[in-house]
């Protein structure tokens, strides 16, 4: 059996909504080069709806398929609906993700939510008191720290075997 479902392969080989939005209403960036996946989501909001959703993704097949699926699920949705998109619902729509990919590559919902938060902060609907979080353990890190300070298993720079 192939590692990826047909649905994942379809979204990976033919990703929907790739790109950037100039003068986006909200931008959300997650991931770092240590773990291997990085995603930037761009949203355009009109009348409380995500009129347009685009993204750029650096990462594996799963990461690209996840971004594509999230963009499809979010496009046209209300803010509240889009906020309900979770890694679990994305994985379900993709007909499953390999176990080891679920945590590392399933960052799309988080990136989208960051873009929504960015929009809400810019429009004064949310207070800007959130720090950057590690995508794996939700530990808050400083803006420029590429590695989770909590030292969570997946994200630690253990690769540099000492």
């Amino acid at each position: 059996m192939p590692v990826y479902s047909e649905k994942v392969m379809d979204h990976f080989m033919h990703p929907r909504n790739v790109g950037e939005i100039e003068n986006a209403d909200g931008v959300g960036e997650v991931g770092n080069p240590v773990c291997g996946d990085m995603m930037t989501f761009y949203i355009k909001v009109k009348d409380n709806r995500l009129e347009d959703v685009k993204y750029k993704t650096f990462g594996c097949g799963a990461a690209i398929a996840v971004s594509s699926m999230v963009s499809e699920m979010a496009k046209g949705a209300t803010i509240e609906e889009a906020q309900k998109i979770t890694p679990e619902s994305v994985a379900k729509m993709l007909e499953g993700l390999p176990k080891q990919k679920f945590h590392c590559s399933n960052l799309g919902a988080q990136a989208l939510n960051k873009a929504i938060d960015d929009y809400l902060i810019k429009t004064g609907k949310l207070k800007a008191d959130e720090g950057k979080c590690c995508p794996f353990c939700d530990h808050e890190d400083s803006e420029n720290d590429p590695v989770c300070k909590q030292g969570c298993q997946v994200n630690s720079p253990e690769a540099k075997v000492s």
Partner: protein
């Protein structure tokens, strides 16, 4: 669809002659070589012939110095643990390089738990160990140095003969993981001046599950597996005669063909090593260009990630490997590339092509045709690439 297999470091096909040689031992000649009755004779003779063939491939003085094991990993575990434990009264310090295979790396970590100290010798940008750094790492209590002959991920061949001059002078046992080199380039244990060597059959078209550890006569090793008297009491367990016979046959053929194979593979390897950076900007060859395994072409493609390249190449019928975090089950970027000084972002773009004897120049032509559009596509959707483009525009 065109199918091009360029992942021989993961698995290589059996040679037809090898398959033919081992079949009887899965069938009529199923006996146990330890048996005294007639059923034991044919397997015993075949096993000893294979031992001599494997010894001949590496220029070992005595076939009895060959201990058959079940994998390169087992051979490396056996060497690190067995050679160190046999000398525990002398000292508890082991020297390895920073780019060893996990089976050496993790065996050393295991020895650390038993109270041994491990020193890691660094490598340079090309993945080369400087022998003088081995000299510096050796202490009065050092009992074992293990430096791989060639790295399977970046193809760099280490200056083992220079390193062995140092270990001889310091009277320290030198082991090498030669899984990537045995049968691929000429290997001679006397010329290399080493004391122990790990090898596996599959890289030279023998069966998987066939492997060996060579230990020079006079060097003590403690068995990993206790039990019967197989393999001179050094590796208990009924021998896998089919695997052993297959490895012997493959070794015999490799000893005959190794130079010719190497020349052929080097030619098509260089087509790829020169062609890919020529067709695609921001592609770097990893590993040493001259001291390199034939048939081994490894790269880092900037701004994109290895697994997505691998999957897209697969959709075009091309099989390759990558050392990116996503590709590894451990979700960590290659420790080899990091030790060579590549940062995480670049290491994520690692791509590895390993060629075998059935590959042809047309295979490389095909890769050079399908690869540039794949890289373009992935770069187009990469946030790292768009940042790079914006930064370089801003700089003008």
């Amino acid at each position: 669809m065109t199918k091009v297999y360029l992942d021989h470091s993961a698995a290589a096909p059996l040679l037809p002659e090898v398959r033919q040689s081992l079949m009887p031992y899965l069938d009529t000649d199923f006996g146990n070589p330890l048996s005294l009755h007639d059923w034991g004779d044919a397997p015993r003779d075949a096993m000893e012939e294979a031992r001599a063939q494997v010894a001949a491939l590496i220029g070992a003085a005595n076939p009895e110095e060959i201990i058959f094991t079940a994998s390169g990993t087992e051979s490396n575990n056996f060497a690190i643990k067995g050679l160190a434990l046999a000398q525990q009264n002398k000292g508890k310090h082991i020297v390895i390089s920073a780019i060893e295979h996990f089976s050496v790396m993790n065996s050393a970590k295991f020895m650390e738990k038993l109270g041994y100290e491990i020193s890691e010798v660094p490598v340079d940008k090309n993945g080369l160990v400087n022998p003088q750094n081995v000299r510096k790492a050796i202490r009065p209590d050092t009992v074992l140095v293990s430096i791989m002959h060639a790295n399977g991920e970046v193809g760099t061949i280490q200056p083992l003969a220079e390193i062995s001059r140092i270990t001889k002078e310091k009277k320290v046992v030198l082991h090498t993981d030669a899984v990537a080199t045995c049968g691929t380039i000429p290997v001679n244990v006397k010329e290399l001046g080493i004391d122990a060597l790990s090898m596996a059959g599959n890289p030279f078209y023998g069966p998987k599950g066939s492997a060996a550890l060579w230990v020079r006569r006079g060097v003590r090793i403690l068995p990993l597996l206790d039990g019967g008297i197989q393999e001179g009491g050094r590796r208990a367990g009924t021998e896998d005669i089919a695997a052993i016979v297959g490895m012997g046959k493959a070794a015999q053929i490799a000893a005959r063909d190794v130079v010719e194979r190497g020349q052929k593979l080097t030619r098509i390897r260089d087509m790829l090593i020169n062609g890919l950076p020529d067709k695609i900007p921001h592609v770097a060859v990893t590993g040493d260009l001259a001291k390199r395994l034939p048939g081994h072409a490894s790269f880092c493609v900037e701004f994109i990630e290895g697994e997505s390249m691998l999957m897209m190449l697969n959709s075009q019928g091309v099989a390759v490997s990558s050392g990116s975090s996503c590709t590894s089950r451990a979700l960590k970027a290659s420790h080899v590339l990091l030790a060579m000084g590549y940062n995480h972002e670049i290491a994520q773009g690692s791509l590895l092509f390993t060629m075998g004897i059935q590959n042809k120049p047309e295979d490389v032509d095909y890769v050079l045709k399908v690869m540039p559009p794949i890289v373009d596509r992935l770069r187009e959707m990469s946030p790292v690439y768009s940042k790079f483009l914006k930064a370089s525009k801003g700089g003008q």
